[in-house]
Amino acid sequence: MQVFDLEAQGLRALNATLHTLNGQTNETAWEIVNPKGSHAIAVGVDAPVDITVRGSTGYYCAGMNKLATIRVKGSAGPGVAENMMSGTVIIDGDASQYAGATGRGGLLVIKGNASSRCGISMKGIDIVVDGNIGHMSAFMAQSGSMVVLGDAGEALGDSLYEARLFVRGSVKSLGADCIEKEMRPEHLALLADLLKRGEADHLAKPEEFRRYGSARKLYTFNIDNAASY
């Protein structure tokens, strides 16, 4: 276990050290202490390592993550796991606004609540939130799945493309072109897998959720032209 004291050693040293790691490293377990809400902790990691942050983080923690498993033992500030490519990011507490924004892959798990704009413009990331999500979540979400065990705020999935949204609780309102859709067996199977990978299968069952998706009236997608896209 490599321990990095952020207060003593500084942010640039931390991220520079993490950036030198690659698939061949033997230093696969890292612990970051004294985060004290600092910004940009463990951004741009590109190696299959485990990183635990002991405390709460500021803006953009785990941004652009690739391959790594990053766990925050606290809450995360705005833009956690923004543009994540792959790997797993787990927040034990709450996440502030635009968690997982523009994420292209990987799995983001938030054990508490997520704030507004969760998963905005998501492009392939999977997001599992144990609590509630705030307004304008999944705005213009393109692909990937979002699973919410609690409630969703106003304008869920506004201007949605092809992301799949699953909400167990109430939805305050749906955004433009977002509609409730039928839950088919393949969706239940997808949900079961997401709940399991998201460490939430002991908290909820797939059949307790409702599915929301795009009515496909707002964007120019036309199934007859699928081959052209």
Binding site: G37, G58, S75, S96, Q97
Partner: protein, 298 residues
Amino acid sequence: MCGIVGLFLKDPGLEPRLGAMLTDMLITMTDRGPDSAGIAIYGRPLKGHAKLTVQSPEPAKDFKDLADDLAALIKAPVTGAIKDTHIVLDLPSDRLDDARAAIATLRPTAKVMSAGEGIEIYKEVGLPKDVAARFDLVKMSGTHGIGHTRMATESAVTTAGAHPFSTGSDQCLVHNGSLSNHNSVRRVLKRAGMTFETENDTEVAAAFLTHKMHEGANLGEAMEATLTDLDGFFTFVVGTRNGFGVVRDPIACKPAVMAETDQYVAFGSEYRAMVNLPGIDTARIWEPEPATVYFWER
């Protein structure tokens, strides 16, 4: 961008440390606002006394004999304590309005920062750490206080454009964001008799609250009205003689974190502003909801 910090103490034992705690929080928010900084601090009112905080670009000239000149004019005892570019004048509370009006005549280059029984406001252009040092904020005690670090967008970087803004007795407001309808709201408030010192959007928000409370609204009702009448981005933190409030616009893109323990309620634009507060590890920490008024009064 701008940085806001606030502390409302529940435990009187922390009161001697209010200035030190707020200063630490303010300096942490330097990255969000390095242009200017300001702080409003509320002390325990002394019965029958009121305070007038006055700022001058020429303190040596303006503050010389100011207390005596004011005493002669309002025919009441006045004492003054100079802190860098500011002077806090102590006078009988029933003479406060006259004293406030008299400053413009006595010292035309000076500006009244605040007036009230508890409030003192200090603000200047410069890095938060330098502003805090000039006024020795660390040593101040009090029951609650609000600080602001400014990155200007809507008006010039001047002392008068720095926050907090005070437009009524013992009232103050700080703002992160920008208002888009401040000119039309200012016109309405001017017709209602309010006066303005700057072209700043935040001063309009402060005056709007003062006007609403003057019409009979309590702090919570006045803050509720900002959600319907003010357009733009805002996270406001507001202070009154015995209260402390927070409200965010419905879009809520300007950040806000709150923490509460048995000893205090704290506000920070970011969590890192609060990391050195006592008991923060076990505090209840949350993000204030959009379009929701929070306020505490003692």
